[in-house]
């Protein structure tokens, strides 16, 4: 079996099929809880374990997919650039909100990690969990974090954010769509942004903007910490 699966085509094909199935399921169920990425990860891990296929075989194809991570991150610039007009009008609240939000996220994660006595590897993996996956991974990886833990924590946070957002907006009486959008983007990156887009155009744009800005601010904070 392992000779048959140790081909780059196997890993890529399996990933596409699992992700496609997850995306279809989400379209049908219309809930952020069924995230295509989480679905694909669970299905692929399940298949590899059941058929006793080593991770290394899957990674023959996995590394082909990995190659697109840096270009995809770079392209976040295109997303920010398309919102440069609103950034000009709201640069101060955007900057203040994203700085405060990123600081609050990292400080609260650090505090709780210490409280639970988690080791350095796990703490570093969780620290950047509120920002978009490519940036979170670039913060965690060189500082001794466990990349898959970061990936799963980031997606889980995104799902939490998109579920909590409407609730928190009501509870905290956030009437300003600028504040609501930035809070969603700062706390739950792209997964939350898909929810913010549903709430309104301003919310969506602000949330999208917060993804990139919080990402950069988190990188800067991590440079100071490590």
């Amino acid at each position: 079996m392992s000779e048959l699966t140790a081909s780059p085509y196997f890993g890529v094909a399996l990933s596409v099929i699992a992700f496609g199935a997850g995306a279809r399921l989400q379209k049908k169920l219309k809930t952020p809880v069924c995230n295509p990425l989480i679905f694909a990860i669970v299905v692929i891990v399940g298949i590899l374990l059941v058929f006793k296929i080593p991770y290394e075989s899957y990674y023959e194809g996995g590394q082909v997919i990995d190659m697109f991570l840096a270009p995809a991150t770079a392209c976040l610039a295109v997303a920010i650039y398309s919102k440069v007009k609103i950034l000009k009008d709201y640069w101060l609240p955007v900057l203040v909100g994203c700085t405060a939000g990123s600081a609050a996220s990292m400080a609260s994660v650090y505090g709780m990690c210490r409280m639970f006595g988690l080791d350095r590897g796990l703490t570093v993996s969780l620290l950047p969990k509120s920002v978009t996956t490519p940036i979170a991974v670039s913060v965690a990886e060189p500082n001794g974090g466990i990349v898959p833990v970061t990936v799963v924590a980031v997606i889980f946070t995104g799902i939490l954010g998109s579920i909590f957002a409407p609730l928190l907006i009501r509870l905290l009486r956030v009437k300003d769509p600028v504040a609501a959008g930035l809070a969603i983007g700062a706390s739950s990156h792209a997964v939350g942004t898909s929810k913010a887009v549903e709430l309104g155009e301003t919310e969506g744009a602000m949330s999208g903007l917060a993804i990139g800005i919080c990402g950069i601010i988190t990188v800067i904070f991590s440079l100071i910490i490590f």
Partner: protein, 121 residues
């Protein structure tokens, strides 16, 4: 040819970022350098959005897909995670609520301050 050119542009930016990462005196992730580099190129007009549009849309729309291998490698870490799964879930829930609250209130305060200043002028 258009798509190939766009891939060429973006991959060149990524390669330049790796070179920059190599020479920087402090560790700064190459992928974020690439983002800043591309943003500056767009702002200064060195690149137009039409130079990268289709490739960027393709990468941004399928962003989640590219993280599957990274996520799947979690199977190599089950042992480490077994003992701290509950704590990790707790941390994610609480810090998400804290981050949302702090961001929302700091933005609302800033906007209120800006409006008051505008009125005073």
């Amino acid at each position: 040819m258009k798509i190939i050119r766009q891939i060429g542009i973006i991959f060149t930016i990524c390669w330049l970022s790796q070179i920059i990462e190599h020479f920087l005196p402090f560790p700064f992730p190459a992928s974020v350098t690439g983002m800043v580099l591309l943003f500056v190129c767009l702002l200064t007009g060195i690149l137009k959005i039409s130079h990268v549009q289709e490739k960027a849309d393709f990468l941004l729309e399928n962003m989640a897909f590219f993280f599957i291998p990274a996520g799947v490698s979690i199977m190599n870490y089950f042992e480490i995670l077994k003992n701290s799964a509950v704590q990790i879930i707790f941390i994610c829930v609480i810090s998400t609520i804290i981050t949302f609250t702090v961001t929302a209130y700091s933005v609302m305060l800033t906007v209120r301050w800006m409006n008051r200043r505008k009125r005073d002028e």
